[in-house]
């Protein structure tokens, strides 16, 4: 575990000394604040459902920016050669990058807790959907980050990595839209592959193990494939 801690600290240092993290957090919280104010005044309903869907969209747009550097930059500058010739397992390198990026996302989500506090102070929100909504955005961020890292491991060009990530996220988002065109069992597969199809129930307070399983499985699969990619020598 020691190499993981060492690499995680290095990744955190890299994340928080880069303007990307601060720019992302600023954009994220500004857009969320705008959405929160607008929906609260328009609907007068004490829930964060809109916020969670806004986080879903923002994550899809911002995660490629966050992950595009991860391996692409290490490859371009040859620092990946330093890491892979040190006595550390590839899985630690992947997990360190994943956990550091997830830490930044969690910090941004923590910033959005202010809206829950406002609702708690001035209204009587149903806390169940709020808890499950935060679980949804966390699981969604994990999945997107893991896929973003996988895309970054495939190329040394950051822009290509970001484009691949965004393309993959959008395909997953709209996977169920093409389902009706497909024969069985592909229709069922496309419906179950849909990101929004698993996000929506969780964000609305309906917690199903199948949805949690979907996010966890895709995340682990993407991390596994990224590790395999690094092990291809």
């Amino acid at each position: 575990m020691r190499p993981l801690v060492i690499l995680f600290r290095k990744e955190l240092h890299a994340t928080f000394t880069s303007p990307i993290a601060y720019t992302m957090a600023t954009v994220f919280l500004l857009v969320l604040g705008y959405t929160f104010s607008l929906t609260l005044f328009a609907t007068k309903v004490a829930n964060l459902n809109y916020i969670f869907h806004q986080v879903y969209v923002l994550s899809i747009l911002l995660v490629p920016v966050l992950t595009m550097r991860a391996f692409a930059e290490e490859r371009r500058t040859d620092t990946l050669e330093l890491l892979l010739t040190a006595p550390v397992r590839e899985i630690w390198i992947v997990l360190a990058k994943f956990l550091a990026a997830l830490s930044l996302m969690i910090l941004m989500f923590l910033g959005s807790l202010a809206y829950a506090v406002v609702l708690g102070l001035y209204g009587e929100p149903d806390w169940g959907p709020i808890y499950s909504g935060y679980l949804a955005v966390l699981l969604n961020a994990s999945l997107l980050l893991a896929l973003g890292l996988l895309m970054s491991s495939l190329t040394e060009n950051q822009v290509v990595a970001a484009a691949l990530s965004l393309g993959t996220f959008l395909m997953l988002w709209f996977a169920d839209s093409v389902a009706y065109l497909l024969p069985q069992p592909f229709e069922l597969f496309a419906v179950n592959l849909s990101l929004i199809g698993h996000f929506k129930p969780l964000a609305s307070g309906e917690v199903f193990l199948s949805d949690i399983g979907y996010f966890t499985t895709v995340t682990l699969l993407a991390l596994f494939l990224t590790t395999r990619r690094l092990m291809e020598r």
Binding site: R2, P3, I6, L7, K10, H13, A14, T17, S18, T77, D78, T79, E81, L82, L83, L84, T85, A86, P87, V88, R89, R233
Partner: protein, 237 residues
């Protein structure tokens, strides 16, 4: 085992690396003795970097076996990598870190105990005369200091074997003389395997040299026994 019965620092047997139709390294056999400075030389594209990358575990051989201090670099990769300090050709460093932060990071990553990290960093900072720049960000370093920092990270865990890919690449004449002195000063305590294509540098730095051409090792000679490296090179190429 080498001739004297001593386990060689590096032993390569029948090593090949193939990329589809291209054979970058072709049935290479090599025995590097403990404490010597051994230089692989040959023209660009002859397979020097590919072999060093296989040795350090960055890429895997297509065939054959490489052992480093008795550890197979594929089957026992982590143990083998613990024994190696490596400076790739481009001397890659993390630009966002300060020199001391980078060296601490590499020391920890290479398994130096937490309590010994500061002493290890101080030792290599002194050895490579990095005191002047130790608090500076890596990205502002000159080429010479970058090369020294890269060498410092390779030495910070006191490895048995130091692998240097074109260590004088891009250095000015003064820096080349300093680097040569540094490499010579490491011999004995460490086994040095380096690559180069500058014949005059090899003559002044190495104890033995191996000529690599089109992925094949054409011969190994002790520098003291070779009257003129250039004539040897020209006679076989």
């Amino acid at each position: 085992m080498s001739e004297g019965g001593e386990t060689p620092a590096i032993l390569a047997e029948g090593v090949c690396k193939r990329y589809r139709s291209l054979t970058a390294v072709d049935h290479l056999d090599l025995n590097v003795r403990r404490g010597e400075v051994f230089c692989l030389f040959g023209p660009n594209g002859s397979g020097k970097t590919t072999f060093l990358r296989m040795l350090t575990g960055y890429i895997s051989p297509s065939a054959g076996q490489i052992t480093v201090a008795g550890h197979d670099v594929v089957r026992d990769g982590l143990a083998a990598r613990c024994k190696i300090g490596y400076v790739p050709e481009t001397a890659p460093l993390y630009g966002h870190m300060r020199v001391d932060e980078f060296l601490r990071f590499m020391a920890r990553l290479r398994g130096v105990a937490s309590t010994a990290v500061e002493a290890a960093v101080e030792r290599v900072v002194g050895l490579l005369a990095l005191g002047e720049v130790v608090r500076k960000p890596v990205r502002v370093l000159s080429r010479g200091y970058r090369q020294r920092t890269a060498l410092a990270q390779a030495l910070v865990h006191e490895p048995e074997i130091v692998v240097l890919d074109e260590p004088t690449n891009g250095l000015d004449p003064r820096q080349i003389v300093e680097m040569r002195g540094l490499i010579r000063s490491l011999a004995g305590r460490h086994t040095i395997l380096m690559s180069s294509h500058i014949l005059s540098e090899i003559e002044k730095t190495a104890d033995r040299a191996g000529l690599l051409l089109d992925g094949k090792l054409l011969g190994v000679r002790a520098i003291a026994e070779v009257a003129d490296l250039e004539s040897w090179f020209l006679s076989v190429t």
